[in-house]
Symmetry: C2
Protein backbone atom coordinates (compact mmCIF):
# COMPACT_ATOMS: atom_id res chain seq x y z
CA UNK A 1 0.00 0.00 0.00
CA UNK A 2 1.26 3.47 -0.82
CA UNK A 3 2.18 5.41 2.29
CA UNK A 4 -0.27 8.27 2.77
CA UNK A 5 0.88 11.90 2.67
CA UNK A 6 2.09 13.59 5.84
CA UNK A 7 1.62 17.37 5.89
CA UNK A 8 2.19 20.00 8.57
CA UNK A 9 0.16 23.05 7.58
CA UNK A 10 1.97 25.59 9.75
CA UNK A 11 5.54 25.95 10.95
CA UNK A 12 7.76 28.94 11.63
CA UNK A 13 11.10 27.44 12.57
CA UNK A 14 14.57 28.91 12.64
CA UNK A 15 15.25 27.12 9.36
CA UNK A 16 18.46 25.14 8.99
CA UNK A 17 19.86 22.07 7.28
CA UNK A 18 19.25 20.23 10.57
CA UNK A 19 15.51 20.98 10.46
CA UNK A 20 15.23 20.13 6.75
CA UNK A 21 16.93 16.78 7.45
CA UNK A 22 14.51 16.18 10.31
CA UNK A 23 11.59 16.83 7.93
CA UNK A 24 12.95 14.09 5.66
CA UNK A 25 13.67 11.72 8.56
CA UNK A 26 10.22 12.39 9.99
CA UNK A 27 8.56 11.53 6.69
CA UNK A 28 7.06 15.01 6.29
CA UNK A 29 5.99 15.48 2.66
CA UNK A 30 4.93 19.13 2.85
CA UNK A 31 5.13 22.06 5.25
CA UNK A 32 3.27 25.35 5.00
CA UNK A 33 5.83 27.86 6.27
CA UNK A 34 5.11 31.38 7.48
CA UNK A 35 7.20 33.96 5.62
CA UNK A 36 5.57 37.15 6.95
CA UNK A 37 4.29 38.43 10.30
CA UNK A 38 4.64 42.19 9.98
CA UNK A 39 6.71 42.41 6.80
CA UNK A 40 5.94 44.96 4.09
CA UNK A 41 5.76 43.73 0.50
CA UNK A 42 9.47 44.35 -0.10
CA UNK A 43 10.43 42.70 3.18
CA UNK A 44 8.30 39.66 2.28
CA UNK A 45 10.12 39.47 -1.07
CA UNK A 46 13.39 39.31 0.89
CA UNK A 47 11.98 36.23 2.65
CA UNK A 48 11.18 34.63 -0.73
CA UNK A 49 14.76 35.41 -1.78
CA UNK A 50 15.98 33.71 1.41
CA UNK A 51 13.90 30.61 0.59
CA UNK A 52 15.20 30.62 -2.99
CA UNK A 53 18.66 30.40 -1.43
CA UNK A 54 17.55 27.44 0.70
CA UNK A 55 16.05 25.72 -2.37
CA UNK A 56 19.41 26.06 -4.13
CA UNK A 57 21.57 25.07 -1.18
CA UNK A 58 19.37 22.26 0.14
CA UNK A 59 17.86 21.20 -3.17
CA UNK A 60 18.26 17.53 -2.24
CA UNK A 61 16.00 17.99 0.81
CA UNK A 62 13.36 20.62 -0.01
CA UNK A 63 11.67 22.34 -2.93
CA UNK A 64 9.07 25.03 -3.48
CA UNK A 65 5.44 23.94 -4.02
CA UNK A 66 2.57 25.94 -5.53
CA UNK A 67 0.06 23.11 -6.04
CA UNK A 68 -0.97 19.74 -4.69
CA UNK A 69 0.78 18.15 -7.67
CA UNK A 70 3.99 19.93 -6.70
CA UNK A 71 3.68 18.14 -3.32
CA UNK A 72 3.30 14.82 -5.14
CA UNK A 73 6.32 15.57 -7.34
CA UNK A 74 8.36 16.55 -4.27
CA UNK A 75 7.60 13.25 -2.58
CA UNK A 76 8.43 11.33 -5.76
CA UNK A 77 11.81 13.11 -5.72
CA UNK A 78 12.37 12.39 -2.02
CA UNK A 79 11.98 16.01 -0.93
CA UNK A 80 9.78 18.00 1.45
CA UNK A 81 7.54 20.49 -0.36
CA UNK A 82 7.55 24.03 1.07
CA UNK A 83 4.40 26.16 0.74
CA UNK A 84 4.49 29.88 1.55
CA UNK A 85 1.98 31.73 3.69
CA UNK A 86 1.56 34.98 5.63
CA UNK A 87 0.14 35.36 9.14
CA UNK A 88 -0.81 38.95 8.39
CA UNK A 89 -1.89 40.86 5.28
CA UNK A 90 0.99 43.32 5.73
CA UNK A 91 2.66 42.20 2.46
CA UNK A 92 -0.27 43.48 0.39
CA UNK A 93 0.01 46.88 2.09
CA UNK A 94 -3.03 48.85 0.88
CA UNK A 95 -2.79 47.65 -2.72
CA UNK A 96 -5.36 45.14 -3.96
CA UNK A 97 -3.17 44.37 -6.99
CA UNK A 98 -0.54 42.88 -4.69
CA UNK A 99 -2.86 39.93 -3.91
CA UNK A 100 -2.21 38.41 -7.34
CA UNK A 101 1.47 39.41 -7.24
CA UNK A 102 1.86 37.62 -3.87
CA UNK A 103 0.10 34.56 -5.30
CA UNK A 104 2.50 34.62 -8.27
CA UNK A 105 5.39 34.70 -5.79
CA UNK A 106 4.01 31.55 -4.16
CA UNK A 107 1.72 32.67 -1.31
CA UNK A 108 -1.06 30.11 -0.79
CA UNK A 109 -2.41 31.12 2.67
CA UNK A 110 -2.85 34.62 4.04
CA UNK A 111 -4.38 35.59 7.38
CA UNK A 112 -6.67 38.60 7.14
CA UNK A 113 -5.28 39.63 10.54
CA UNK A 114 -2.62 38.72 13.00
CA UNK A 115 -3.60 39.68 16.59
CA UNK A 116 -4.57 43.30 15.87
CA UNK A 117 -7.06 45.13 13.70
CA UNK A 118 -5.87 45.16 10.08
CA UNK A 119 -7.20 46.99 7.00
CA UNK A 120 -9.26 43.87 6.40
CA UNK A 121 -10.64 42.45 9.66
CA UNK A 122 -10.25 42.29 13.44
CA UNK A 123 -7.60 40.31 15.29
CA UNK A 124 -8.43 38.17 18.33
CA UNK A 125 -6.75 40.55 20.83
CA UNK A 126 -8.84 43.64 20.00
CA UNK A 127 -11.57 44.71 22.45
CA UNK A 128 -14.11 45.28 19.66
CA UNK A 129 -14.64 43.08 16.62
CA UNK A 130 -16.17 45.07 13.77
CA UNK A 131 -16.02 42.26 11.24
CA UNK A 132 -14.82 42.41 7.64
CA UNK A 133 -13.97 45.94 6.44
CA UNK A 134 -14.69 47.55 3.07
CA UNK A 135 -11.23 46.64 1.79
CA UNK A 136 -11.58 43.22 3.44
CA UNK A 137 -14.53 42.40 1.18
CA UNK A 138 -12.49 43.32 -1.90
CA UNK A 139 -9.48 41.31 -0.76
CA UNK A 140 -11.63 38.23 -0.02
CA UNK A 141 -13.05 38.38 -3.56
CA UNK A 142 -9.58 38.80 -5.04
CA UNK A 143 -8.12 35.95 -2.95
CA UNK A 144 -11.02 33.78 -4.12
CA UNK A 145 -10.29 34.73 -7.73
CA UNK A 146 -6.58 33.90 -7.73
CA UNK A 147 -6.72 30.98 -5.29
CA UNK A 148 -4.97 32.38 -2.22
CA UNK A 149 -6.58 30.73 0.81
CA UNK A 150 -8.03 32.96 3.54
CA UNK A 151 -6.68 31.95 6.96
CA UNK A 152 -8.45 33.24 10.10
CA UNK A 153 -6.28 31.53 12.74
CA UNK A 154 -5.55 34.77 14.62
CA UNK A 155 -8.79 36.61 13.86
CA UNK A 156 -11.68 37.48 16.17
CA UNK A 157 -14.97 35.55 16.20
CA UNK A 158 -17.29 37.84 14.23
CA UNK A 159 -14.62 38.59 11.62
CA UNK A 160 -14.04 34.86 11.23
CA UNK A 161 -17.73 34.06 10.81
CA UNK A 162 -18.09 36.87 8.29
CA UNK A 163 -15.05 35.70 6.33
CA UNK A 164 -16.54 32.20 6.12
CA UNK A 165 -19.84 33.70 4.98
CA UNK A 166 -18.40 36.16 2.46
CA UNK A 167 -15.79 33.91 0.90
CA UNK A 168 -17.08 32.05 -2.17
CA UNK A 169 -14.48 29.34 -1.57
CA UNK A 170 -13.54 27.35 1.55
CA UNK A 171 -11.25 29.12 4.00
CA UNK A 172 -8.84 27.72 6.61
CA UNK A 173 -7.90 28.01 10.22
CA UNK A 174 -4.41 26.67 9.77
CA UNK A 175 -3.33 26.49 13.42
CA UNK A 176 -5.72 26.51 16.38
CA UNK A 177 -7.69 24.11 18.58
CA UNK A 178 -11.30 23.97 19.78
CA UNK A 179 -12.20 26.30 22.61
CA UNK A 180 -14.28 23.50 24.18
CA UNK A 181 -11.04 21.56 24.74
CA UNK A 182 -8.90 24.46 25.97
CA UNK A 183 -10.45 27.87 26.55
CA UNK A 184 -7.59 29.96 25.15
CA UNK A 185 -8.29 33.23 23.39
CA UNK A 186 -6.68 31.85 20.21
CA UNK A 187 -8.74 28.67 20.19
CA UNK A 188 -11.97 28.56 18.20
CA UNK A 189 -15.61 28.29 19.27
CA UNK A 190 -17.74 25.33 18.33
CA UNK A 191 -19.82 27.73 16.22
CA UNK A 192 -16.79 28.87 14.23
CA UNK A 193 -15.49 25.36 13.59
CA UNK A 194 -18.98 24.21 12.55
CA UNK A 195 -19.41 27.11 10.13
CA UNK A 196 -15.87 26.57 8.82
CA UNK A 197 -16.22 22.87 8.12
CA UNK A 198 -19.80 23.11 6.85
CA UNK A 199 -18.50 25.40 4.10
CA UNK A 200 -15.67 23.02 3.17
CA UNK A 201 -13.03 24.85 5.20
CA UNK A 202 -10.29 23.10 7.17
CA UNK A 203 -8.78 23.43 10.62
CA UNK A 204 -5.21 22.44 11.44
CA UNK A 205 -4.70 21.39 15.05
CA UNK A 206 -1.96 23.26 16.83
CA UNK A 207 0.78 21.88 19.04
CA UNK A 208 1.84 25.27 20.36
CA UNK A 209 1.67 24.84 24.16
CA UNK A 210 -0.50 27.94 24.74
CA UNK A 211 -3.17 26.25 22.59
CA UNK A 212 -2.97 22.90 24.45
CA UNK A 213 -5.02 21.75 27.45
CA UNK A 214 -2.35 21.53 30.15
CA UNK A 215 0.11 23.49 27.99
CA UNK A 216 3.54 21.85 27.93
CA UNK A 217 2.17 19.08 30.17
CA UNK A 218 -0.64 18.23 27.76
CA UNK A 219 -0.67 14.50 27.12
CA UNK A 220 -0.60 12.88 23.71
CA UNK A 221 -3.77 11.02 24.71
CA UNK A 222 -5.64 14.23 25.52
CA UNK A 223 -4.56 15.85 22.21
CA UNK A 224 -5.61 12.82 20.19
CA UNK A 225 -8.91 12.36 22.03
CA UNK A 226 -9.65 16.02 21.23
CA UNK A 227 -9.12 15.26 17.52
CA UNK A 228 -11.31 12.14 17.71
CA UNK A 229 -14.04 14.23 19.36
CA UNK A 230 -13.65 16.91 16.66
CA UNK A 231 -14.00 14.19 14.02
CA UNK A 232 -17.28 13.10 15.56
CA UNK A 233 -18.56 16.70 15.78
CA UNK A 234 -17.39 18.07 12.41
CA UNK A 235 -16.55 15.05 10.27
CA UNK A 236 -12.97 13.87 9.84
CA UNK A 237 -12.33 15.02 6.27
CA UNK A 238 -11.71 18.69 7.06
CA UNK A 239 -9.28 18.17 9.93
CA UNK A 240 -5.51 18.29 9.70
CA UNK A 241 -2.38 19.32 11.55
CA UNK A 242 -0.94 22.85 11.69
CA UNK A 243 1.59 22.40 14.45
CA UNK A 244 2.67 26.05 14.82
CA UNK A 245 6.09 24.60 15.51
CA UNK A 246 8.66 27.36 16.13
CA UNK A 247 11.66 25.08 16.42
CA UNK A 248 15.06 26.50 17.45
CA UNK A 249 13.78 30.09 17.54
CA UNK A 250 15.30 32.51 20.04
CA UNK A 251 12.77 34.32 22.27
CA UNK A 252 13.47 37.55 20.38
CA UNK A 253 11.40 36.05 17.58
CA UNK A 254 8.23 35.64 19.64
CA UNK A 255 8.72 39.25 20.76
CA UNK A 256 8.82 40.26 17.05
CA UNK A 257 5.76 38.15 16.28
CA UNK A 258 3.77 39.85 19.05
CA UNK A 259 5.11 43.42 18.85
CA UNK A 260 6.23 43.96 15.27
CA UNK A 261 6.70 47.71 14.94
CA UNK A 262 3.27 48.66 16.24
CA UNK A 263 3.89 49.30 19.96
CA UNK A 264 6.39 50.83 22.39
CA UNK A 265 4.87 48.91 25.30
CA UNK A 266 5.66 45.21 25.48
CA UNK A 267 2.84 42.96 24.31
CA UNK A 268 3.09 39.43 25.70
CA UNK A 269 0.41 37.87 23.50
CA UNK A 270 -0.50 34.48 24.92
CA UNK A 271 2.45 34.67 27.34
CA UNK A 272 3.00 37.00 30.30
CA UNK A 273 5.76 39.12 31.84
CA UNK A 274 6.90 36.14 33.87
CA UNK A 275 6.53 33.72 30.96
CA UNK A 276 7.50 35.86 27.98
CA UNK A 277 9.43 33.45 25.78
CA UNK A 278 8.52 30.45 23.66
CA UNK A 279 7.00 27.80 25.94
CA UNK A 280 8.68 24.36 25.89
CA UNK A 281 7.03 21.80 23.59
CA UNK A 282 5.44 18.66 25.08
CA UNK A 283 8.02 15.85 25.11
CA UNK A 284 5.98 13.85 22.56
CA UNK A 285 6.07 16.65 19.96
CA UNK A 286 9.34 18.52 19.85
CA UNK A 287 9.71 18.61 16.10
CA UNK A 288 9.49 16.96 12.71
CA UNK A 289 10.74 13.62 14.02
CA UNK A 290 7.65 13.19 16.21
CA UNK A 291 4.76 12.89 13.76
CA UNK A 292 4.75 9.12 14.31
CA UNK A 293 3.67 9.80 17.90
CA UNK A 294 0.59 11.68 16.71
CA UNK A 295 -0.23 9.07 14.09
CA UNK A 296 0.02 6.29 16.67
CA UNK A 297 -1.89 8.35 19.23
CA UNK A 298 -4.75 8.87 16.78
CA UNK A 299 -4.87 5.15 16.01
CA UNK A 300 -5.03 4.43 19.74
CA UNK A 301 -8.26 6.43 19.97
CA UNK A 302 -9.90 3.88 17.70
CA UNK A 303 -9.94 6.04 14.55
CA UNK A 304 -9.67 4.07 11.32
CA UNK A 305 -6.40 4.00 9.40
CA UNK A 306 -8.06 5.94 6.61
CA UNK A 307 -9.30 8.65 8.96
CA UNK A 308 -5.89 8.92 10.61
CA UNK A 309 -4.24 9.22 7.19
CA UNK A 310 -6.69 12.01 6.39
CA UNK A 311 -5.78 14.00 9.49
CA UNK A 312 -2.04 13.38 9.02
CA UNK A 313 -1.98 14.92 5.54
CA UNK A 314 -4.38 13.51 2.94
CA UNK A 315 -7.06 16.05 3.88
CA UNK A 316 -4.71 19.01 3.39
CA UNK A 317 -3.52 17.61 0.08
CA UNK A 318 -7.11 17.34 -1.18
CA UNK A 319 -7.74 20.89 0.09
CA UNK A 320 -4.65 22.14 -1.81
CA UNK A 321 -5.91 20.54 -5.03
CA UNK A 322 -9.20 22.41 -4.78
CA UNK A 323 -8.12 25.75 -3.39
CA UNK A 324 -4.65 26.68 -4.68
CA UNK A 325 -5.07 28.65 -7.89
CA UNK A 326 -8.06 29.80 -9.93
CA UNK A 327 -11.21 27.72 -9.61
CA UNK A 328 -11.43 24.97 -12.22
CA UNK A 329 -14.81 23.94 -13.54
Amino acid sequence: MTKSYRIDNLQYANWSEKIFREMRAGGVDAVHVTIAYHETFREMVLQVERWNEYFLRYGDLICHARTGDDVRAARAAGKTAIIFGYQNPSPIEDDLGLVEICHTLGARFMQLTYNNQSFLATGCYEAEDTGITRMGKQVIAEMNRVGLVIDMSHSAERSTLEAIEQSSRPIAITHANPHWWHAALRNKSDEVIKALTQSGGMIGFSLYPHHLAGATDCTLESFCEMIAEAASRYGVKLLGIGSDLCQDQPDSVVTWMRNGRWTREMDYGEGSASDAGFPPQPSWFEGNLHFDNIENGLKATGMSDEDVAGVMGENWLRFYDKNFGPETT
Copy 2:
Protein backbone atom coordinates in the same frame (compact mmCIF):
# COMPACT_ATOMS: atom_id res chain seq x y z
CA MET B 1 -0.40 24.78 -44.29
CA THR B 2 -0.33 26.17 -40.76
CA LYS B 3 0.27 29.89 -40.70
CA SER B 4 3.68 30.61 -39.20
CA TYR B 5 4.04 32.62 -35.99
CA ARG B 6 4.28 36.38 -36.11
CA ILE B 7 6.17 37.92 -33.19
CA ASP B 8 7.27 41.47 -32.42
CA ASN B 9 10.04 41.25 -29.86
CA LEU B 10 9.87 44.85 -28.62
CA GLN B 11 7.08 47.34 -28.22
CA TYR B 12 6.41 50.09 -25.71
CA ALA B 13 3.04 51.48 -26.72
CA ASN B 14 0.51 53.54 -24.82
CA TRP B 15 -1.51 50.37 -24.32
CA SER B 16 -5.22 50.45 -25.01
CA GLU B 17 -8.03 48.25 -26.24
CA LYS B 18 -7.49 49.84 -29.66
CA ILE B 19 -3.89 48.63 -29.81
CA PHE B 20 -4.76 45.15 -28.50
CA ARG B 21 -7.43 44.89 -31.22
CA GLU B 22 -4.87 45.97 -33.80
CA MET B 23 -2.52 43.22 -32.60
CA ARG B 24 -5.28 40.69 -33.27
CA ALA B 25 -6.24 42.24 -36.61
CA GLY B 26 -2.55 42.36 -37.60
CA GLY B 27 -2.12 38.66 -36.83
CA VAL B 28 0.48 39.31 -34.13
CA ASP B 29 0.84 36.18 -31.99
CA ALA B 30 3.23 37.55 -29.38
CA VAL B 31 4.71 40.86 -28.31
CA HIS B 32 7.60 41.42 -25.91
CA VAL B 33 6.55 44.55 -24.04
CA THR B 34 8.83 46.83 -22.02
CA ILE B 35 7.55 47.28 -18.46
CA ALA B 36 10.54 49.14 -16.99
CA TYR B 37 12.90 51.91 -18.07
CA HIS B 38 13.96 53.48 -14.78
CA GLU B 39 11.50 51.83 -12.41
CA THR B 40 12.58 50.49 -9.03
CA PHE B 41 11.50 46.98 -8.07
CA ARG B 42 8.29 48.21 -6.46
CA GLU B 43 7.49 50.49 -9.39
CA MET B 44 8.02 47.57 -11.80
CA VAL B 45 5.59 45.50 -9.70
CA LEU B 46 3.03 48.27 -10.21
CA GLN B 47 3.49 47.77 -13.95
CA VAL B 48 2.85 44.02 -13.57
CA GLU B 49 -0.29 44.91 -11.59
CA ARG B 50 -1.34 47.19 -14.44
CA TRP B 51 -0.85 44.35 -16.93
CA ASN B 52 -2.79 41.97 -14.68
CA GLU B 53 -5.64 44.46 -14.97
CA TYR B 54 -5.32 44.43 -18.77
CA PHE B 55 -5.32 40.61 -18.80
CA LEU B 56 -8.58 40.65 -16.82
CA ARG B 57 -10.27 43.42 -18.78
CA TYR B 58 -9.08 42.38 -22.27
CA GLY B 59 -8.84 38.65 -21.62
CA ASP B 60 -10.44 37.92 -24.99
CA LEU B 61 -7.56 39.72 -26.78
CA ILE B 62 -4.36 39.21 -24.80
CA CYS B 63 -2.81 36.94 -22.16
CA HIS B 64 0.45 36.69 -20.24
CA ALA B 65 3.15 34.37 -21.62
CA ARG B 66 6.14 32.93 -19.79
CA THR B 67 7.21 30.27 -22.33
CA GLY B 68 7.12 29.46 -26.01
CA ASP B 69 4.30 27.03 -25.27
CA ASP B 70 2.31 29.87 -23.69
CA VAL B 71 2.63 31.67 -27.04
CA ARG B 72 1.30 28.57 -28.81
CA ALA B 73 -1.60 28.31 -26.33
CA ALA B 74 -2.39 32.01 -26.80
CA ARG B 75 -2.60 31.59 -30.55
CA ALA B 76 -4.79 28.50 -30.19
CA ALA B 77 -7.11 30.64 -28.03
CA GLY B 78 -7.10 33.52 -30.54
CA LYS B 79 -5.10 35.86 -28.29
CA THR B 80 -1.85 37.80 -28.48
CA ALA B 81 0.73 36.60 -25.94
CA ILE B 82 2.39 39.32 -23.89
CA ILE B 83 5.97 38.79 -22.66
CA PHE B 84 7.50 41.14 -20.08
CA GLY B 85 10.94 42.71 -20.31
CA TYR B 86 12.99 45.56 -18.85
CA GLN B 87 15.17 48.00 -20.81
CA ASN B 88 17.24 48.66 -17.69
CA PRO B 89 18.27 46.57 -14.68
CA SER B 90 16.74 49.14 -12.31
CA PRO B 91 14.10 46.65 -11.05
CA ILE B 92 16.78 44.43 -9.51
CA GLU B 93 18.20 47.44 -7.65
CA ASP B 94 21.42 46.16 -6.03
CA ASP B 95 19.97 42.81 -4.98
CA LEU B 96 21.05 39.69 -6.88
CA GLY B 97 18.13 37.76 -5.36
CA LEU B 98 15.69 39.96 -7.26
CA VAL B 99 16.79 38.37 -10.57
CA GLU B 100 14.89 35.18 -9.75
CA ILE B 101 11.98 37.15 -8.23
CA CYS B 102 11.68 39.21 -11.43
CA HIS B 103 11.76 36.01 -13.49
CA THR B 104 8.98 34.57 -11.29
CA LEU B 105 6.97 37.72 -11.98
CA GLY B 106 7.35 37.09 -15.70
CA ALA B 107 10.45 38.99 -16.87
CA ARG B 108 12.06 37.20 -19.82
CA PHE B 109 14.41 39.89 -21.19
CA MET B 110 16.46 42.41 -19.21
CA GLN B 111 18.93 44.93 -20.61
CA LEU B 112 22.10 45.20 -18.54
CA THR B 113 21.99 48.94 -19.27
CA TYR B 114 19.78 51.56 -20.81
CA ASN B 115 21.82 54.49 -22.21
CA ASN B 116 23.92 55.14 -19.10
CA GLN B 117 26.39 53.26 -16.96
CA SER B 118 24.56 50.81 -14.67
CA PHE B 119 25.76 48.64 -11.80
CA LEU B 120 26.29 45.96 -14.43
CA ALA B 121 27.69 47.41 -17.66
CA THR B 122 28.12 50.54 -19.79
CA GLY B 123 25.37 52.18 -21.83
CA CYS B 124 25.95 53.34 -25.40
CA TYR B 125 25.91 57.07 -24.52
CA GLU B 126 28.79 56.97 -22.00
CA ALA B 127 32.18 58.36 -23.07
CA GLU B 128 34.07 55.37 -21.62
CA ASP B 129 33.03 51.73 -21.84
CA THR B 130 34.55 49.73 -18.99
CA GLY B 131 32.80 46.48 -19.83
CA ILE B 132 30.99 44.13 -17.48
CA THR B 133 31.31 45.08 -13.79
CA ARG B 134 31.84 42.81 -10.77
CA MET B 135 28.12 42.71 -10.07
CA GLY B 136 27.48 42.37 -13.80
CA LYS B 137 29.30 39.04 -13.86
CA GLN B 138 27.15 37.77 -10.99
CA VAL B 139 23.94 38.95 -12.60
CA ILE B 140 24.84 37.34 -15.94
CA ALA B 141 25.40 34.00 -14.18
CA GLU B 142 22.12 34.34 -12.27
CA MET B 143 20.17 35.33 -15.42
CA ASN B 144 21.68 32.29 -17.15
CA ARG B 145 20.61 30.06 -14.24
CA VAL B 146 16.97 31.14 -14.11
CA GLY B 147 16.50 31.76 -17.84
CA LEU B 148 16.14 35.54 -18.03
CA VAL B 149 17.61 36.62 -21.38
CA ILE B 150 20.36 39.25 -21.39
CA ASP B 151 19.49 42.08 -23.79
CA MET B 152 22.25 44.50 -24.87
CA SER B 153 20.22 46.69 -27.24
CA HIS B 154 21.23 49.94 -25.50
CA SER B 155 24.70 48.90 -24.29
CA ALA B 156 28.11 50.02 -25.46
CA GLU B 157 30.32 47.89 -27.73
CA ARG B 158 32.85 46.44 -25.30
CA SER B 159 30.17 45.71 -22.71
CA THR B 160 28.14 43.93 -25.37
CA LEU B 161 31.05 41.81 -26.58
CA GLU B 162 31.92 40.90 -22.98
CA ALA B 163 28.30 39.98 -22.20
CA ILE B 164 28.23 37.65 -25.23
CA GLU B 165 31.53 36.12 -24.09
CA GLN B 166 30.64 35.77 -20.42
CA SER B 167 27.09 34.52 -20.80
CA SER B 168 26.88 30.74 -20.91
CA ARG B 169 23.62 30.99 -22.88
CA PRO B 170 22.68 32.99 -26.00
CA ILE B 171 21.85 36.65 -25.43
CA ALA B 172 19.72 39.04 -27.46
CA ILE B 173 19.78 42.46 -29.03
CA THR B 174 16.02 42.84 -29.12
CA HIS B 175 15.78 46.12 -31.05
CA ALA B 176 18.57 47.60 -33.18
CA ASN B 177 19.90 47.51 -36.72
CA PRO B 178 23.34 47.01 -38.29
CA HIS B 179 25.68 49.99 -38.15
CA TRP B 180 26.79 49.20 -41.74
CA TRP B 181 23.26 50.04 -42.93
CA HIS B 182 22.71 53.14 -40.78
CA ALA B 183 25.56 54.55 -38.70
CA ALA B 184 23.51 55.46 -35.62
CA LEU B 185 25.01 55.23 -32.15
CA ARG B 186 22.33 52.69 -31.17
CA ASN B 187 22.94 50.44 -34.15
CA LYS B 188 25.36 47.53 -33.85
CA SER B 189 28.73 46.86 -35.43
CA ASP B 190 29.31 43.94 -37.74
CA GLU B 191 31.66 42.51 -35.09
CA VAL B 192 28.94 42.60 -32.43
CA ILE B 193 26.28 41.01 -34.64
CA LYS B 194 28.73 38.30 -35.72
CA ALA B 195 29.72 37.48 -32.16
CA LEU B 196 26.05 37.57 -31.11
CA THR B 197 24.78 35.21 -33.79
CA GLN B 198 27.80 32.90 -33.68
CA SER B 199 26.93 32.22 -30.02
CA GLY B 200 23.27 31.51 -30.82
CA GLY B 201 22.06 34.99 -29.91
CA MET B 202 19.37 36.87 -31.81
CA ILE B 203 18.90 40.38 -33.13
CA GLY B 204 15.48 41.99 -33.60
CA PHE B 205 15.40 44.62 -36.35
CA SER B 206 14.05 47.96 -35.23
CA LEU B 207 11.55 50.20 -36.96
CA TYR B 208 12.21 53.19 -34.75
CA PRO B 209 13.02 55.99 -37.22
CA HIS B 210 16.28 56.99 -35.51
CA HIS B 211 17.55 53.47 -36.26
CA LEU B 212 16.50 53.54 -39.93
CA ALA B 213 18.54 54.64 -42.96
CA GLY B 214 16.66 57.77 -44.04
CA ALA B 215 14.73 57.87 -40.76
CA THR B 216 11.01 58.41 -41.34
CA ASP B 217 11.67 58.46 -45.08
CA CYS B 218 13.32 55.03 -45.04
CA THR B 219 11.75 52.83 -47.69
CA LEU B 220 10.33 49.39 -47.10
CA GLU B 221 12.66 48.13 -49.82
CA SER B 222 15.75 49.50 -48.07
CA PHE B 223 14.68 47.97 -44.73
CA CYS B 224 14.01 44.57 -46.28
CA GLU B 225 17.19 44.57 -48.36
CA MET B 226 19.09 45.26 -45.15
CA ILE B 227 17.51 42.15 -43.59
CA ALA B 228 18.30 40.07 -46.66
CA GLU B 229 21.93 41.25 -46.49
CA ALA B 230 22.02 40.44 -42.75
CA ALA B 231 20.71 36.95 -43.56
CA SER B 232 23.56 36.42 -45.99
CA ARG B 233 26.15 37.72 -43.48
CA TYR B 234 24.90 36.07 -40.28
CA GLY B 235 22.51 33.33 -41.36
CA VAL B 236 18.77 33.83 -41.31
CA LYS B 237 17.87 31.73 -38.28
CA LEU B 238 18.89 34.26 -35.62
CA LEU B 239 17.14 37.27 -37.11
CA GLY B 240 13.75 38.63 -36.07
CA ILE B 241 11.74 41.78 -35.59
CA GLY B 242 11.86 44.04 -32.50
CA SER B 243 10.00 47.04 -33.86
CA ASP B 244 10.54 49.39 -30.88
CA LEU B 245 7.07 50.64 -31.70
CA CYS B 246 5.99 53.37 -29.26
CA GLN B 247 2.48 53.77 -30.63
CA ASP B 248 0.20 56.54 -29.31
CA GLN B 249 2.74 57.72 -26.74
CA PRO B 250 2.89 61.42 -25.84
CA ASP B 251 6.34 63.02 -26.14
CA SER B 252 6.54 63.21 -22.35
CA VAL B 253 7.21 59.47 -22.46
CA VAL B 254 10.34 59.72 -24.60
CA THR B 255 11.52 62.44 -22.20
CA TRP B 256 11.03 59.95 -19.32
CA MET B 257 12.80 57.18 -21.24
CA ARG B 258 15.83 59.40 -21.83
CA ASN B 259 15.97 61.36 -18.57
CA GLY B 260 14.40 59.16 -15.92
CA ARG B 261 15.32 60.76 -12.60
CA TRP B 262 19.07 60.90 -13.31
CA THR B 263 19.56 64.42 -14.70
CA ARG B 264 18.44 68.03 -14.26
CA GLU B 265 19.70 68.94 -17.74
CA MET B 266 17.60 67.71 -20.65
CA ASP B 267 18.99 64.68 -22.42
CA TYR B 268 17.74 64.31 -26.00
CA GLY B 269 19.08 60.82 -26.61
CA GLU B 270 18.87 60.11 -30.32
CA GLY B 271 16.83 63.27 -30.85
CA SER B 272 17.87 66.93 -30.50
CA ALA B 273 16.54 70.18 -29.05
CA SER B 274 14.83 70.91 -32.34
CA ASP B 275 13.61 67.34 -32.77
CA ALA B 276 12.90 66.27 -29.19
CA GLY B 277 9.79 64.15 -29.50
CA PHE B 278 8.96 60.76 -30.95
CA PRO B 279 9.78 60.82 -34.67
CA PRO B 280 6.94 59.88 -37.06
CA GLN B 281 6.92 56.25 -38.21
CA PRO B 282 7.45 55.42 -41.90
CA SER B 283 4.07 55.19 -43.61
CA TRP B 284 4.57 51.45 -44.27
CA PHE B 285 4.99 50.65 -40.55
CA GLU B 286 2.77 52.68 -38.29
CA GLY B 287 1.64 49.85 -36.07
CA ASN B 288 0.46 46.31 -35.57
CA LEU B 289 -1.69 46.35 -38.72
CA HIS B 290 1.39 46.71 -40.94
CA PHE B 291 3.34 43.49 -40.46
CA ASP B 292 2.02 42.21 -43.80
CA ASN B 293 4.02 44.99 -45.45
CA ILE B 294 7.24 43.68 -43.97
CA GLU B 295 6.40 40.08 -44.79
CA ASN B 296 5.66 41.03 -48.41
CA GLY B 297 8.73 43.27 -48.55
CA LEU B 298 10.95 40.41 -47.40
CA LYS B 299 9.48 38.08 -50.00
CA ALA B 300 10.14 40.72 -52.66
CA THR B 301 13.87 40.53 -51.87
CA GLY B 302 13.86 36.92 -53.03
CA MET B 303 14.04 35.35 -49.58
CA SER B 304 12.33 31.96 -49.33
CA ASP B 305 8.95 31.65 -47.62
CA GLU B 306 10.58 29.63 -44.86
CA ASP B 307 13.26 32.25 -44.24
CA VAL B 308 10.66 35.02 -44.21
CA ALA B 309 8.56 33.04 -41.73
CA GLY B 310 11.64 32.69 -39.54
CA VAL B 311 12.28 36.44 -39.47
CA MET B 312 8.59 37.24 -38.93
CA GLY B 313 8.37 35.13 -35.74
CA GLU B 314 9.41 31.50 -35.97
CA ASN B 315 13.00 32.34 -35.02
CA TRP B 316 11.94 34.18 -31.86
CA LEU B 317 9.61 31.34 -30.90
CA ARG B 318 12.45 28.82 -31.17
CA PHE B 319 14.66 31.18 -29.15
CA TYR B 320 11.96 31.42 -26.43
CA ASP B 321 11.77 27.62 -26.24
CA LYS B 322 15.49 27.37 -25.57
CA ASN B 323 16.12 30.41 -23.41
CA PHE B 324 13.10 31.14 -21.20
CA GLY B 325 13.54 29.26 -17.94
CA PRO B 326 16.23 26.98 -16.54
CA GLU B 327 18.31 25.06 -19.04
CA THR B 328 16.85 21.65 -19.86
CA THR B 329 19.18 18.81 -20.73
